[in-house]
Symmetry: C2
Subunit: 232 residues, 2 copies
Amino acid sequence: MADVTPPESTSITDDPSYRAGVIELLGVLAVGELIAFDRLAADSRMAPTLSDKAALAGMAVTEFHHFERIRDRLDELGVSADEAMAPFYPAYERFHANTAPSDWLEGLVKAYVGDGIAADFYRAVAETVDPVTRELVREVLADAGHSEFVVQRVRDAVDADPRVAGRLVLWARRLVGEALAQAQRVAVDHDALAGLVVGSDGSGFDLAQLSELFTQLTMNHAERLARLGLSS
Amino acid sequence: MADVTPPESTSITDDPSYRAGVIELLGVLAVGELIAFDRLAADSRMAPTLSDKAALAGMAVTEFHHFERIRDRLDELGVSADEAMAPFYPAYERFHANTAPSDWLEGLVKAYVGDGIAADFYRAVAETVDPVTRELVREVLADAGHSEFVVQRVRDAVDADPRVAGRLVLWARRLVGEALAQAQRVAVDHDALAGLVVGSDGSGFDLAQLSELFTQLTMNHAERLARLGLSS
């Protein structure tokens, strides 16, 4: 990942625009986790067996506990999670409305690929913030050990019917396109958050680092597809 | 609750028909918790605010953790949760298909009233089983502290518009009717479970105790409606 300089201040109350950026970061993460809960729970309805259903439900539950951790931190900062989340809700809703999986496998790929990209991106952003926020972000983005389940299920399906791979590759491409489209809108609409990523005070990523970050995100994405048995 | 005699044996491996009954009990509870997760997650989509959505999602998550506890116990007994749950899935699916809430308030009433009746009933059944099973059943049926949230939200809605009460009373009545219809089918189809409740060996409820149990269930239901501000 790109090597950036975190702000010298470790207290988020010193600098109003920095504080606003952190609250936006926590808000966008919180709504992401809450909606991920929602969608994984919905996708679990397409599970072929009750234990598969339980596995996806378990992933949803992990996301909810991450949401709770962020909500607690927002509470500590004296900010209502509702208020912090509200500005980002529409972008996530659009993303999920445009990427509703049509079957169980698409749901699994979305959970794995989508979470993976989001986690890579937010972990990179977390490099630009104070240690307390950074630790929280890393913690809620830690893989909850469900990846192995998804990888196995998708590989089994591809092995059983190789034609499945082509469809899922296209699906993964659509997920990335939609994610980038919504991320761009979020960045344009939310100055404080964008300021964390490309800080005018030199604390965020410069252009070379941003380019390095996107190269890294793309490589990680390709690796994830390969692990699923999907060459992109 | 009715005062019944638990079986003298505390090991569920001694008596095959008793063991079968306990596994059916755990199976019906597990599928109930897993589907409750599913439905509460779906109902959380109707929440008027993000924090209401999070509150209902939190209830769903509690149900999932209860499911995990029962699944672990089934594992200990060498029984796959899938197999134990499968026979009871259709009854729960029918119940939920016939009682899909049409709005946020109906979802809240269903969560509160439905969970309440189920918990009362299974807690009574747990009186007839060995201490380990009984403790587990009590634990997974313990109110997770979400009731206060539901009561407050429903009372507020009824206060704001008293006409809401009439509609919700009818809704609660329909929930009870559907629950009884499905419970009866479950009892008819599952001898071992029915044997736990009305044990031919004298360990379950006799007719007088059953009658007492149903009187108690009805009284508790009426009390719950009263707490919601709904006179039945």
